[in-house]
C-alpha cells in the first residue's frame, strides 16, 4: 500500500510491544526522524528497558519532538502509544506547532507480537503485558479520529507491514517553487472596474471568450495574487469572481480566501449564517447568475488554500497576515488566523474586535503581504505590509509588485460602502507605523550571543559578555536609539617603523595598501579634535517623521561611542542650525534630493570634549613632572657641587627628561583653547555618509570631500578644510612627497595623517575587505599617547612590540557593521535592525584592546 503523508506531520506509531514498530520505523524513515521512547530511556539511564526511567525518557522525547516540529521537520514517535493519555500530550504538542497528526496503527494478531517478543534476547516482556496492550489498542482505534488525527493508517497483518510504502506530500500552502514576479492585490470587494483599471496599469491583458470565460495574460509572465475578500459590499461581485476564476485557471493568478469568501461559501453550501457586513450584496448579485456559475463559484471557493509560501520561502501571503510560526503549516488555528487574524478579545468604541497587531512582533525573514484591515496608505512594518487600501470604502485598490516592492494603485471611482470605523489618518510629521511600533525596542533584539548578517562581511558574531557591556553603554550613556543609526569603526595605526626616534611613519601605511594590491591611496590630514557624528535635518518635522524622535530637535551630534557630544542641548541645536543653513545655501540638500544628511566629522578644539582628560591626565602629568624634576635637579646640583660621584650622570639624565616633558606640555597646550560659545568651534566634516535613499559608501573619498567643500563658502568661520594628497604607491617620488607632507603637517603641530584607499569600500585581489583607513600619527603628538619619554631608545624598543591584528580585525568588522546599519536605515528597515548593528559595534568596542593604538 502507498500512503501519502503530509510533510509537516507528527506520526505516531500505535501498537503493542512486539508489533515490529521499531523495525518498521528503521526501514521507512530517516533515523533522525524517529524519536523512540526506548532510545530515550537508554539516553537517560544507559538501559533501554529501564521502566524506572520512563518519566524522564518521555520528557526528553517531548523536548526532541518539540524542537523538530518548531523547525518544521516530520517526526515519528516510536512508542506503544496505546493509551489515550499517553497520546494526549503529543497531540497538544503537535497542535502547538500546527502539525498534522498521523497514526500508523499496528493491529496485528497477538500471536505475532508474542512470537516477536520470544525472539528477543535483550528483554523479556510478560504475556499479560502484551495482552493488555492489545486490548488498549482496540479500545483506542475508534477514538483516534475524535482525538484529532487527520489520517489513520491501519496495518492489520505482517503482509501489510511488509508492503507498506509512503511518500511525502507537500502542504497545499507550499508553493516555494513559484518565483513570480507577482502583483499582489488587496481586498477587491466587488470593485470590478477599479480591478480592471489596475490590471491594465500593471500590464495584464484581459479577454472574454465566447463562453463568457475570462482569460488573463501578462506578456512578461507576471502573476496576480489575490489576497481574498473579492466578494461582498461592492457592485460587481460576480464579475470579479468570474475574472479571478478565469485568471487562476489560466495560471495567471493565485487566489487566497478571505473571511468574506468563507462566509459566502457557508451560505452557498446551505449553512446558516447571519447576513451582514455586505453579504447581502453578494447574495443578490449571485442570485441572478446561472446555477452552473453558482456551482463553479462554490467549487472555486472550496478549493482555496488559506495561505501561500512562495519564492523559496521568501514571500508569504495570507488574507489577514500570518505570524512566522504558522508559515507553511496547516491546522485549524493557522486557517483561522489567515482568514480572521487574531483578536485580543476586546472591542473598540465601534463595537469591532480590537486586533492583535501580530506584525509589530514579527521578526521573520520572509516578507508577509496581507490585506483584511483597510489602511489609508500601505506602510512597511517589520518586513510586512498591509495593501488593503479600502477601495470599496472610497479609498484605492492597491497592488504590491514583487520583488520590486513598489506600489501601484487605482483610486476608487466612488464610495460604494460606508466604513463602520473611520480609516486612520496621519499627519505630516507623524511617525510611521514602523516607528510607532518601535518607540520602545525589545530586549530580545540586543541580548545574549548574537549574529549579525552583513552585506560586506557575512555573519559577524558577538559574544554574550560583549553584548551585555554594549547594552549597558546604550542604556546609560547613549543618545536616543532613534538617532543612533551609525557608529564609526575604530582605526588602526600603521605598523611600527624601525626608523630612529620614530614609532609611526607613512611608509608602513603605504606598504600595507600596496601589499593589498592598491596602486593609489589618498592621505587626509587628521584633525586634532573630537570625533563627531552629526545628523542634520531640514527642520523638526523631518526629524520627527524620518527618525521617529520627539519634537524639539532638528538633529543630533554624538561621539564615536554614541554619547551626546554636547551637555547643553541648546548648543547642539545652535551648531546644527548653522550646518543646516550651509547645507541649504550650498544647494547640497537639493543636489542630494534629501532633507537630512549624516556627516562624519572632527569637532575642534579638543579641549571642548576632552577638558577633564586634559586637566586630570595631561596637565597633571606636566605639572607634577615639572615640579618633581626641578626639585630633583636642584638636589642633584647641590650633590654635584659637593663632588658626589655619579651625581652628574643622573643630573644629565634629568635634564633630558625636563626637556621632553616641556615638549609634552607644548603638545597638549596646542590643542586647548577656551570655548565659551559656538563661535570658537571649528568643524571639519570628512565623510558625507548618508542622505535620504542613499548610503554614499559607494563613492570615492574625493567625492565626499568635494561635496563637503561646497559647504565652506557659506560659513567660513565654522568649517575647516581637510587637506589631502593623492599618492601613487609604485612611484617613489610620489611617496617621498607624501612623507614630506606628513613631516610638515606634524611639525606644524598636526596630529598626523590618515591614509585611505580611493574608494570608501575597497577589497584586495582575493576579494576581501581591506582596512578602510590607517592613521599615521606625528612624533610629537605621540608624546601625549605614550608619555613624554617614549622617544628614548630604550623605551621605543619596547613600545615597538605592539600587536595590531586584533585592532585591524575589529576595524574591518565594525566598518562592515556600520555600513550595514546605514543601508538598513536608508532602506527603511525596522529600527531594531539598525539598532542591532550599532549595538554590535559597541559590543566589539568593549573588547579589551591597547587604547594607545
Amino acid at each position: 500500500m502507498l500512503a501519502k503523508i503530509p510533510e509537516l506531520s507528527l506520526v505516531l506509531l500505535v501498537g503493542a510491544s512486539g508489533a515490529g514498530k521499531s523495525y518498521f520505523a528503521r526501514r521507512q524513515f530517516l533515523a533522525s526522524e524517529v524519536v523512540s521512547s526506548d532510545v530515550c530511556r537508554g539516553l537517560v539511564s544507559d538501559d533501554e528497558t529501564n521502566q524506572d526511567a520512563t518519566k524522564d525518557a518521555f520528557e526528553l522525547l517531548h523536548v526532541i519532538a518539540g524542537k523538530r516540529m518548531a523547525r518544521g521537520r516530520l517526526t515519528v514517535i516510536d512508542a506503544t502509544n496505546v493509551l489515550p493519555e499517553s497520546r494526549r500530550s503529543l497531540i497538544s504538542l503537535a497542535r502547538d506547532h500546527h502539525f498534522l497528526l498521523v497514526a500508523i496503527v499496528f493491529d496485528l494478531p497477538e500471536a505475532v507480537c508474542l512470537n516477536h517478543n520470544a525472539e528477543r534476547t535483550d528483554r523479556a516482556i510478560p504475556r499479560d503485558v502484551v495482552h493488555r496492550q492489545i486490548r488498549q489498542l482496540h479500545a483506542s482505534v475508534s477514538k483516534l479520529r475524535r482525538e484529532g488525527f487527520h489520517q489513520i493508517i491501519t496495518l492489520s497483518s505482517e503482509e501489510d507491514v511488509e508492503s507498506f510504502s509512503w511518500e511525502r506530500q507537500p502542504l497545499w500552502s507550499n508553493r516555494k517553487h513559484e518565483h513570480g514576479p507577482f502583483d499582489i492585490i488587496g481586498d477587491v470587494h466587488g470593485c470590478y472596474d477599479e480591478l480592471i483599471a489596475l490590471m491594465e496599469k500593471l500590464g495584464y491583458q484581459v479577454s472574454l471568450d465566447g463562453s463568457h470565460t475570462y482569460h488573463v495574460h501578462h506578456p512578461q509572465g507576471r502573476k496576480l495574487v489575490f489576497l481574498g475578500d473579492l466578494v461582498d459590499r461592492g457592485p460587481k461581485v460576480a464579475e470579479v469572481l468570474g475574472l479571478v476564476m478565469g485568471a487562476v485557471s489560466d495560471g495567471a493568478a493565485l487566489c487566497l480566501p478571505g473571511n468574506h469568501e468563507s462566509k459566502l461559501l457557508k451560505k452557498l453550501k446551505g449553512q446558516k449564517v447571519t447576513v451582514s457586513h455586505g453579504l447581502q450584496e453578494s447574495l443578490e448579485q449571485m442570485a441572478v447568475q446561472s446555477p452552473e456559475f453558482q456551482q463553479k463559484v462554490q467549487d472555486f471557493l472550496q478549493s482555496l488554500v488559506n495561505h501561500f509560501v512562495l519564492d523559496d520561502g521568501k514571500l508569504v501571503v495570507a488574507h489577514a497576515g500570518l505570524p512566522e510560526a504558522m508559515h507553511g503549516r496547516g491546522s485549524a488555528k493557522v486557517r483561522d488566523f489567515a482568514l480572521y487574524g487574531e483578536t485580543t478579545g476586546e472591542t473598540d468604541e465601534f463595537g469591532l474586535p480590537v486586533r492583535y497587531h501580530w506584525a509589530s512582533d514579527y521578526r521573520g525573514q520572509a516578507m508577509v503581504v496581507y490585506g483584511h484591515t483597510p489602511v489609508p496608505q500601505p506602510e512597511w512594518l517589520n518586513h510586512t505590509i498591509d495593501v488593503d487600501t479600502g477601495c470599496v470604502f472610497g479609498g484605492a485598490l492597491t497592488a504590491l509588485r514583487y520583488p520590486e516592492k513598489t506600489l501601484v494603485e487605482v483610486s476608487a471611482f466612488r464610495t460604494y460602502y460606508d466604513p463602520i470605523r473611520p480609516i486612520g489618518h496621519r499627519s505630516i510629521s507623524a511617525p510611521s507605523v514602523q516607528q510607532e511600533s518601535e518607540e520602545v525596542l525589545d530586549l530580545d533584539d540586543v541580548t545574549g550571543r548574537r549574529r549579525v548578517a552583513t552585506e560586506l562581511l557575512g555573519n559577524i558574531s558577538i559574544l554574550e559578555e560583549n553584548s551585555a557591556a554594549a547594552l549597558e553603554g546604550l542604556s546609560r550613556f547613549a543618545v536616543d536609539p532613534h538617532w543612533l543609526i551609525y557608529l564609526p569603526p575604530t582605526m588602526s595605526p600603521a605598523a611600527t617603523s624601525l626608523l630612529p626616534k620614530t614609532l609611526e611613519h607613512p611608509e608602513q601605511a603605504f606598504a600595507y595598501f600596496q601589499q593589498e594590491g592598491l596602486r593609489e591611496v589618498v592621505c587626509e590630514e587628521k584633525h586634532m579634535g573630537s570625533r563627531a557624528m552629526m545628523i542634520v535635518c531640514q527642520d523638526e518635522n523631518v526629524a520627527q517623521r524620518r527618525f521617529g524622535v520627539g519634537p524639539g530637535s532638528m538633529g543630533v551630534v554624538y561621539t564615536r561611542s554614541g554619547r551626546p557630544f554636547f551637555e547643553d542641548p541648546r548648543r547642539e541645536q545652535e551648531l546644527l542650525a548653522r550646518v543646516g543653513r550651509a547645507l541649504h545655501d550650498s544647494g547640497l540638500y537639493a543636489q542630494l534630493q534629501s532633507d537630512w544628511v549624516l556627516l562624519d566629522s572632527e569637532l575642534m578644539p579638543w579641549s571642548l570634549k576632552a577638558q577633564p582628560l586634559i586637566m586630570n591626565q595631561y596637565a597633571a602629568v606636566g605639572r607634577v613632572g615639572a615640579v618633581a624634576l626641578a626639585a630633583a635637579d636642584n638636589a642633584l646640583n647641590q650633590a654635584e657641587r659637593r663632588g658626589v660621584e655619579k651625581a652628574s650622570d643622573l643630573r644629565a639624565n634629568i635634564l633630558g627628561r625636563r626637556e621632553r616633558l616641556q615638549q609634552f606640555i607644548d603638545v597638549y597646550r596646542r590643542y586647548s583653547w577656551p570655548v565659551d560659545n559656538i563661535e570658537g568651534l571649528r568643524l571639519a566634516p570628512f565623510h558625507l555618509l548618508a542622505s535620504e535613499g542613499a548610503v554614499h559608501t559607494n563613492q570615492t573619498h574625493g567625492w565626499h570631500l568635494d561635496r563637503i567643500q561646497t559647504l565652506f563658502s557659506s560659513d567660513q568661520s565654522l568649517f575647516q578644510e581637510t587637506p589631502q594628497r593623492h599618492v601613487q604607491l609604485d612611484d617613489f617620488a610620489s611617496r617621498t612627497d607624501a612623507v614630506q607632507w606628513w613631516e610638515e603637517v606634524t611639525r606644524r603641530g598636526g596630529e598626523g595623517i590618515v591614509v585611505k584607499p580611493l574608494h570608501f569600500v575597497s577589497r584586495n585581489d582575493r576579494g576581501r575587505i581591506i582596512q578602510p583607513a590607517i592613521k599615521v600619527r606625528g612624533r610629537e603628538y605621540l608624546r601625549i599617547i605614550y608619555g613624554p619619554d617614549y622617544s628614548v631608545d630604550a623605551n621605543l624598543d619596547r613600545l615597538r612590540h605592539r600587536g595590531l591584528a586584533t585592532k585591524r580585525s575589529l576595524a574591518i568588522r565594525e566598518f562592515a557593521l556600520g555600513v550595514e546599519g546605514l543601508h538598513r536605515f536608508v532602506q527603511h528597515e525596522p529600527l531594531r535592525r539598525v539598532h542591532e548593528c550599532v549595538h554590535a559595534i559597541l559590543a566589539l568596542e568593549s573588547q579589551p584592546v591597547d587604547p594607545r593604538l
Binding site: 518607540e439 520602545v440 525596542l441 525589545d442 530586549l443 530580545d444 533584539d445 540586543v446 541580548t447 559578555e465 551585555a468 557591556a469 547594552l471 549597558e472 542604556s475 546609560r476 536616543d480 520627539g550 586637566m615 591626565q617 596637565a619 597633571a620 602629568v621 606636566g622 605639572r623 607634577v624 613632572g625 615640579v627 618633581a628 624634576l629 626639585a631 630633583a632 636642584n634 638636589a635 642633584l636 647641590q638 650633590a639 659637593r642 663632588g643 658626589v644 660621584e645 655619579k646 651625581a647 643622573l650 634629568i654 627628561r657 606640555i665 597646550r669 586647548s672 577656551p674 599617547i785 605614550y786 608619555g787 619619554d789 617614549y790 623605551n795 619596547r798 591597547d850 587604547p851 594607545r852
Partner: protein
C-alpha cells in the same frame, strides 16, 4: 614614561652627619637600589656638622609597569598619567626597602641616637592629596609637626583650570627618625586615595606594625585605617578591632559617617528607603516581586530574608553590579530551599523585557534619576505598559532637600551620574501623569526626616494598578 618622586630628610642635630649612620647610607656617595617598579637613588645634597640632608629619589619605570602587567591596577592602562610621579605607596615600599633598618629604629653605630628625639625636617616635592591641604594638616598636626604646604596651579597658561591636587610639603618636628619614617610610611598612601596594588591581609599587619605606638591614639585613626586599606570594609573592620585592643579604647564609629565622599548618601537613609519598600510589598501581600535596577542587591538581601516573598527577581543594566550582587547574596551557596527563589537578570529598563511579566510588584529604587530625560518615555512604557505589575514603587531624590546636606555645593546633584533630581512638584506631576496614562493610582510619601520647608530627602511614589 618615567616618573620621579623626591623625599629629602634634613637634621640639624649635631653632628648632623650622623644622619648617615642612622640611615645606613654614606653621605659622600650616590647609591642606587633596584626596586620592582624602577630604581631608588640615595644621595646627600648637603652634609656638614650643622646640617645634613639626605635625598631619596625614586625613578619609576611606567612603560615597564604597563607592559609587564605589573601593577596594572595602579597605573591603569594608560602610559600617560600622573601615577608614576605620585603613587605614594611606591614611596612607602621604597622607605621600607632602602631605609628598612632605620624604619625599625635600629642602628648599630648609634643605637641610642636612633631612639632619641632629634630635630628633623622632611620635604616632599610633590605630594598628591585629593583631600586638599586641610587633610594633610589633619593627619600630621596631631603628631606634633609644624608644616608648610604649598599648592600650585595646574597649568600657568590656563589659570582658569585652577589649582592642581599636588602640594610641596615640609614637615618639621623633633622626634626619633624611625617615628618620622613610620608616619610617612603609613600616611603617604592615606593621602593618596588611588589604589596601587592588591591590598591583602598582610597589609593589616604592616599597618599595625608601623602604626604601633601612635596610630591608636590618633584622632583620625578610623579614617587612616579606612583609607590605608583602600576602603576595603572587611579589612578595615578587622584592623580597627585590633587597633582598639591595642589602645583599649572604646569601639569606634562606623568610618562611613565621617569619610564617605558623598555625605548625601548616608547609610541610614538608604536603609530606611529599603525597609519602606519591603513594608509596602508586605502590606500589599506581594509574593512574586521585582527589584528593577537592583544594583549590588541590598534590597534583594532584605527580601530574601522574608519568606512571604516566594519569587524574587533582581534586574540591573550593569553586569559588574550583578556580579557584586551575586557575591553579596552568596547566590552560589544559597540553601536548596532558597535556590530558585532568587534570580538575577541582566537587562535594561528602556527595552521591553518579556521576562518581567506576571509579577505582583516592582520596586524601582533610586533609578529614575540615572536615566536621560529622552529615555523616560521608553522607561514608562516598559514598566507601566509592558511589565505592568499591580504594584510599582518608585523612589527618587527630592532636590529641594539638597541644601540640608553638608558638603553638597549649591546646585550640585547628589551623584555625578544623576541626570536630574526633581522637586516635589516635578515628581508629583510626573507620577500623576504616568498614572493617568497607564491606569494606575498613585500615593506619594517622603522617606527620611521631614523638614517643614523642604520635605524629606527621598520621595516615594506607590503606584497601584486600576482594577480593570
Amino acid at each position: 614614561m618615567n616618573g620621579f618622586m623626591l623625599l629629602t630628610i634634613t637634621t640639624t642635630h649635631q653632628p648632623a652627619t650622623d644622619l648617615g649612620f642612622l640611615l645606613h647610607k654614606h653621605p659622600d656617595r650616590l647609591q642606587s637600589f633596584p626596586l620592582s617598579f624602577g630604581q631608588a637613588h640615595v644621595f646627600y645634597p648637603s652634609a656638614d656638622e650643622d646640617s645634613c640632608t639626605a635625598a631619596l629619589l625614586l625613578d619609576i619605570d611606567a612603560v615597564g609597569l604597563v607592559r609587564t602587567g605589573r601593577g596594572q591596577e595602579a597605573v591603569t592602562d594608560q602610559y600617560v598619567n600622573d601615577r608614576p610621579y605620585t603613587v605614594s605607596s611606591f614611596m612607602s615600599v621604597a622607605l621600607a626597602q632602602v631605609f628598612g633598618t632605620a624604619l625599625a629604629g635600629r642602628c648599630t653605630a648609634r643605637p641610642e641616637l636612633a631612639l632619641m628625639p632629634i630635630a628633623l625636617q622632611a620635604t616632599l616635592a610633590v605630594l598628591p592629596c585629593d583631600g586638599g591641604a586641610s587633610l594633610i594638616r589633619r593627619l600630621f598636626q596631631p603628631l606634633g609637626y609644624t608644616m608648610s604646604i604649598e599648592g600650585t596651579l595646574l597649568d600657568d597658561h590656563f589659570p582658569e583650570w585652577g589649582n592642581s591636587p599636588y602640594y610641596t610639603v615640609t614637615l618639621t618636628a623633633t622626634l626619633p627618625l624611625h617615628q618620622l619614617l613610620s608616619h610617612l610610611y603609613v600616611l603617604l598612601p592615606v593621602l593618596d586615595n588611588e589604589k596601587h596594588y592588591y591590598i591583602g591581609e598582610d597589609e593589616i599587619a604592616k599597618l599595625l606594625r608601623h602604626g604601633a605606638g601612635w596610630l591608636h591614639a590618633h584622632p583620625d585613626r578610623d579614617l587612616i585605617t579606612w583609607r590605608y586599606l583602600k576602603r576595603s570594609r572587611p579589612l578595615a573592620e578587622a584592623a580597627m578591632a585590633r587597633l582598639v585592643l591595642e589602645g583599649e579604647d572604646d569601639v569606634p564609629d562606623s568610618p562611613d559617617s565621617k569619610t564617605q565622599a558623598h555625605p548625601a548618601r548616608t547609610d541610614s537613609l538608604s536603609t530606611e528607603r529599603l525597609n519602606r519598600v519591603v513594608e509596602e510589598f508586605r502590606n500589599y501581600g506581594a509574593k512574586r516581586v521585582l527589584d528593577l535596577g537592583c544594583g549590588e542587591g541590598r534590597l534583594l538581601q532584605l527580601l530574601v530574608q522574608d519568606s512571604t516573598f516566594h519569587e524574587i527577581v533582581g534586574l540591573d543594566v550593569s553586569p559588574a553590579a550583578l556580579k557584586r550582587a551575586e557575591k553579596r547574596l552568596h547566590l552560589d551557596r544559597l540553601p536548596s530551599s532558597h535556590a530558585g527563589r532568587l534570580r538575577l537578570l541582566h537587562g535594561s529598563l528602556t527595552y521591553r523585557d518579556r521576562r518581567l511579566q506576571g509579577y505582583d510588584a516592582a520596586a524601582i529604587v533610586e533609578v529614575l534619576e540615572h536615566l536621560d530625560r529622552s529615555r523616560l518615555a521608553s522607561f514608562e512604557r516598559v514598566v507601566f505598559e509592558f511589565t505592568r505589575p499591580p504594584l510599582v514603587i518608585v523612589t527618587t531624590p527630592n532636590v529641594e532637600y539638597n541644601p540640608r546636606f553638608v558638603g553638597l555645593a549649591d546646585g550640585q546633584l547628589r551623584n555625578p551620574d544623576h541626570r536630574f533630581e526633581w522637586t516635589r512638584n516635578e515628581f508629583s506631576a510626573w507620577a500623576h501623569d504616568v498614572s493617568l496614562s497607564f491606569g494606575y493610582q498613585v500615593r506619594i510619601e517622603g522617606v527620611g526626616p521631614t523638614d517643614p520647608l523642604v520635605g524629606s530627602p527621598t520621595q516615594m511614589g506607590v503606584f497601584m494598578r486600576n482594577v480593570s
